[in-house]
Symmetry: D2
Subunit: 153 residues, 4 copies
């Protein structure tokens, strides 16, 4: 998943991603922080908290998906025009291991950018007792939205 080959259309992509991320109420709720914003690649981290758990105390699959979907959506966004908005059409997640850990790192990378459709892949890692473990993979399909009031960035 080498994203270095992608050229951004908008030189201010990182500021645009930060501003949009700050407007996502969900990111505040899950305690997520943007760690890396590169062309075609975005990384998000968050700590475990009780309010994100399923019944066994692991991170809820949906919360893993929430962070991965944002990482993938913003990875796609880095390659879009300045005025474009991005919407998730669909995503699919495989839970490889219980989301057990103190912290979690979510990577989203663009596999195939496109004018209308962008395909991305995400990987979630748990940091548990000093070891990092792959806990989930996600594939998301995003759509570039232009000229629609209220759907921007």
């Amino acid at each position: 998943m080498d994203a270095s080959r992608f050229e951004p259309q908008d030189p201010a992509f990182a500021e645009r991603v930060r501003a949009s991320f700050a407007r996502q109420g969900a990111m505040g709720t899950i305690g997520a922080a943007l760690c890396e914003i590169a062309p075609g690649r975005v990384t998000i981290e968050l700590p475990w908290q009780q309010g994100l758990t399923q019944q066994h105390g692991f991170l809820h699959a949906g919360m893993v998906a929430t962070a991965l979907d944002s990482a993938c959506g913003y990875a796609a966004s880095t390659l879009m025009p300045a005025e474009a908005g991005v919407l998730t059409i669909e995503f699919k997640i495989n839970l490889l291991a219980p989301a057990q850990g103190q912290r979690f790192r979510m990577e989203g990378v663009v596999v195939k950018p496109g004018r209308t459709i962008t395909v991305t892949e995400g990987r979630a890692y748990a940091l548990h007792e000093g070891r990092e473990k792959l806990i989930a993979t996600l594939g998301a399909t995003l759509m570039t939205i232009t000229g629609r009031e209220g759907i921007q960035h």
Copy 2:
């Protein structure tokens, strides 16, 4: 998606689902409530809140997925033995329309129960200005876990 044909193995399935749901920190965070618990079918509702949004103020796709995944997981759980735990192996969500509304209803139903693998389908509806609209479909594959410490219900 007629779930009425399923016979629960555990007559106390509803109590079991309620107890497990109460332990999910994520359900508290998203303000979700269990509405219907029938064999092979569970419905969850939640109100809009700022802390669940993406950048345009709609419900974040991951939060829609969180509620749908729980609805599907508990729908599967209703048909499992009393001592079994349930884990999501994977799910896929299609976002059909922006998750715009005052309230949201998530339905999970079992398509195919199994000893090891159960396949479910979920549908998310937004209640917006008095009208209900289908906003997402989700398919989830669940695994029955037995005899593993810490993975129960």
Copy 3:
């Protein structure tokens, strides 16, 4: 999955679907026949044959997917403009039971039509010793293509 509420834009949708289906070499190879073409709904049938099997003699999951993808793609196509082409962006299939039988019926229905993106669902049934059994569900996302040379119908 009630598709009766959809209005076709192109009154000649059925002829268009039949002509396109006839050009799919893959449909000839799998012995598929179009059974029903209604607005937002297409059904395809095929017999078992050795050339479609996996290692246990059941229909190969990919062959089930081939027929379901065509059923879903043509279901989407029935609601598209006369000059539009349709491309599959992605699909996901759940194999619920071994594809064992003498004949197979694939149903594709539109869940949500759209100008650019159409979401569909498919169900595959095996006819085995006189009984019909649900063996697979598929969800496909299709894109309407207009004005692109070589991508029509």
Copy 4:
């Protein structure tokens, strides 16, 4: 997607995969050949043929999926016990570009092996006019089957 870290349980995994592949009628129909069989990694190649096409003369998405599903299933199989059978529970495919080319190469690799559930990823490449292009990604979940008559290898 580094599969080299996996240790096979069955030293005769390659012979087992070859024997099973030879029993898949579908592989003969699509003209597929096994190219690489390593622990956690299998590659399949096939030439274009008219009998595998969709309406524009590209490879049908379902045929791409057929080859990728086999590549992923056999990648999983390389890490399974000698007597185990493998069944696909589900897969999801993203079509990144039209499957246009003279030859196609399908890679399947194991992301996470497991006693019951194995998760794999596949990538399809088209060789078109001397250049290789990524045309599809697939994620498949496989189940290990043991002790069930008729479901072996």
